[in-house]
């Protein structure tokens, strides 16, 4: 079990959260807190860099959906970048690959 690590930074497109470790029921509150702490402005895009993420359970899925719906209320967007294959498989099963923009890597996600 590797702990969840959330590293915020800024890119030309908007805020970026680098997620690494395992995202599950036990630590999903940390992600919710990090999301609440973001000041997302209209027209900007929050990028979740998931390259270091090893696991994401349904609580994590819920956090992604909450992030998307919060972004939409301020007319901003959320994109996922560098999603590992096992997590992408889950996203496909639940259909989230259709409602999130999924970038192959962080460079293409943060290119203005």
């Amino acid at each position: 079990m590797s702990p969840l690590k959330i590293t915020p930074r800024d890119a030309a497109t908007g805020p970026v959260l680098e997620l690494s470790g395992e995202l599950d029921y036990a630590n999903v509150a940390e992600l919710h807190q990090a999301l609440d702490g973001l000041a997302l402005r209209p027209g900007r895009c929050l990028v979740l860099d998931m390259s270091g993420l090893e696991f994401c359970d349904s609580s994590g899925i819920t956090a992604l959906i909450a992030a998307r719906s919060n972004a939409q209320t301020v007319r901003a967007d959320v994109a996922l970048a560098a999603v590992p294959p096992n997590i992408l498989r889950v996203l496909r099963i639940v259909g989230l690959d259709q409602i999130f923009t999924v970038h192959p890597d962080i460079e293409s996600a943060t290119r203005p």
Partner: protein, 434 residues
């Protein structure tokens, strides 16, 4: 060293010691009671002496004060038991007096005495029989201690204990009621038995990750009309009471929607609208994954036509009588309830004799098989496992999967539901295995 006036001076004592003793004796005498009679009358406890028949011969002022009695009305006129309450009297007759007769002394017995004016005073009574020179009993000497403080303390203790006891009883009753309510709720979330589907067999299994948590997985099979049956299986997000409320809403919405329009995509669309309406904007997104479908038995051919749709759910698996198995893909179906309108994908298949449709929740494919979560069981492993059981009837398939779930042990940290629907094999040997 004792300081008593009647003590014989030790001839060996030094003069200095004797002088010191005399000085100390004088100091004590000034402080001590100068009259034994005064000590008796005004001692901090009650004294009384009675004849052997209980008639009061002597009583001190302290006790008279406590009881609010005059000496003239008591001495020679009342018995000890006349001073006691009815309860005290009874206890005196049945326990106190017989014990005193047997043992000649008794101490620390709790009794209640009557006060003039109707009050009661709890006391601790000790008595000793005084005997004459020939050993015959002469009289009874009794001391009476005021036990009001002690009684109050005991009553407080008792009251506290009763309150604690009551709280414990209440907590236990509450817990029992809660468990009963949970059991009833759980039953309303998961049917005990499924209705018989003509020409088909069904089997289910529910693995609960935690026994005191209401589960988040659900399934059901129910009649739609004269020919068709509806079925569903799904998984709501979250755990506990909120998940149970969501499960309940999901189940009954699907059943009602199915009766209105049994088309699988329509039923899931209705469910999506209801869940989104209910939970959108609550700041707490809630959703479910679900497979919903219809079964239409064809009595002429013995086949079972399946039409299903799924949202956010892993694909169903069809196990064929010939020993093969494959996914029945429903790609692109979105989680139910997260968007105002969601795409759902449907699929159809026909089950012939010996074929089985298997529905499962992701507890099965997300079970950890290794130390870390990279080693999840996965859908390919599941397909390989069930292929080995293709051709077997639903209950045998579910039994094999139950064994697989058990083998995960702690690796299975999510609830898992299984629903298998199959057509009995035409081969009599296989059918006999049922």
């Amino acid at each position: 060293m004792m300081c008593r006036a009647d003590q014989q001076p030790d001839p060996q004592d030094a003069d200095a010691d004797a002088d010191a003793d005399r000085t100390a004796d004088a100091a004590f005498a000034a402080l001590l009671e100068d009259s034994a009679e005064d000590l008796y009358e005004n001692a901090p406890c009650g004294y009384l002496s009675t004849l052997m028949d209980g008639t009061i011969a002597k009583i001190n002022g302290t006790l008279l004060d406590w009881l609010g009695l005059e000496r003239e009305a008591v001495v020679g006129r009342k018995r000890f038991t006349d001073l006691l309450t009815v309860g005290g009297k009874l206890y005196h007759e049945t326990h106190f007096a017989p014990l005193l007769r047997m043992q000649s002394e008794i101490s620390g017995i709790a009794l209640e005495m009557k006060q003039t004016g109707g009050g009661r005073i709890p006391v601790l009574v000790s008595s000793a029989v005084k005997h004459g020179t020939t050993g015959q009993p002469l009289l009874i000497r009794t001391t009476v201690f005021d036990a009001r403080d002690r009684r109050a303390y005991e009553e407080e203790l008792l009251r506290r204990r009763e309150a604690a006891e009551e709280a414990r009883r209440q907590a236990e009753a509450d817990r029992a009621r809660l468990q009963e309510a949970l059991a009833v709720l759980q039953q309303s979330l998961l049917p005990d038995t499924l209705p018989p589907v003509p020409g088909a067999q069904t089997a289910t299994h529910y693995h609960t990750a935690s026994p005191d948590r209401l589960g988040g997985d659900f399934y059901d099979v129910f009649a739609l009309d004269g020919q068709r049956f509806g079925f569903f299986l799904g998984d709501v997000c979250g755990k506990g009471p909120q998940a149970a409320a969501l499960t309940s809403l999901t189940r009954y919405t699907l059943r009602a929607a199915a009766l209105h329009d049994p088309d699988p995509v329509s039923a899931l669309t209705t469910l999506n609208t209801v869940l989104h309406e209910r939970y959108a904007g609550s700041g707490d997104p809630r959703y479910c994954t679900a497979v919903y479908g219809t079964l239409e038995p064809d009595p002429a051919t013995g086949q079972l036509a399946v039409h299903l749709a799924a949202g956010g759910h892993p694909p169903a698996i069809v196990l064929r009588a010939d020993g093969t198995a494959d996914f029945l893909p429903t790609p692109g179906g979105l989680l139910v309830g997260i968007l105002p309108s969601a795409p759902f994908t449907d699929a159809t298949t026909v089950l012939g004799p010996g074929d089985t449709l298997l529905l499962y929740t992701d507890g099965l494919t997300e079970a950890r098989t290794g130390q870390d979560r990279a080693g999840l069981y996965g859908d390919e492993a599941l397909l390989a496992f069930v292929t080995a059981h293709a051709g077997k009837p639903p209950h045998a398939v579910v039994q094999a999967l139950t064994g697989l779930l058990d083998s995960f042990g702690d690796g299975l940290d999510d609830d898992t539901a299984l629903l298998a629907i199959g057509v009995p094999a035409s081969d009599p040997q296989t059918r006999d295995e049922r």
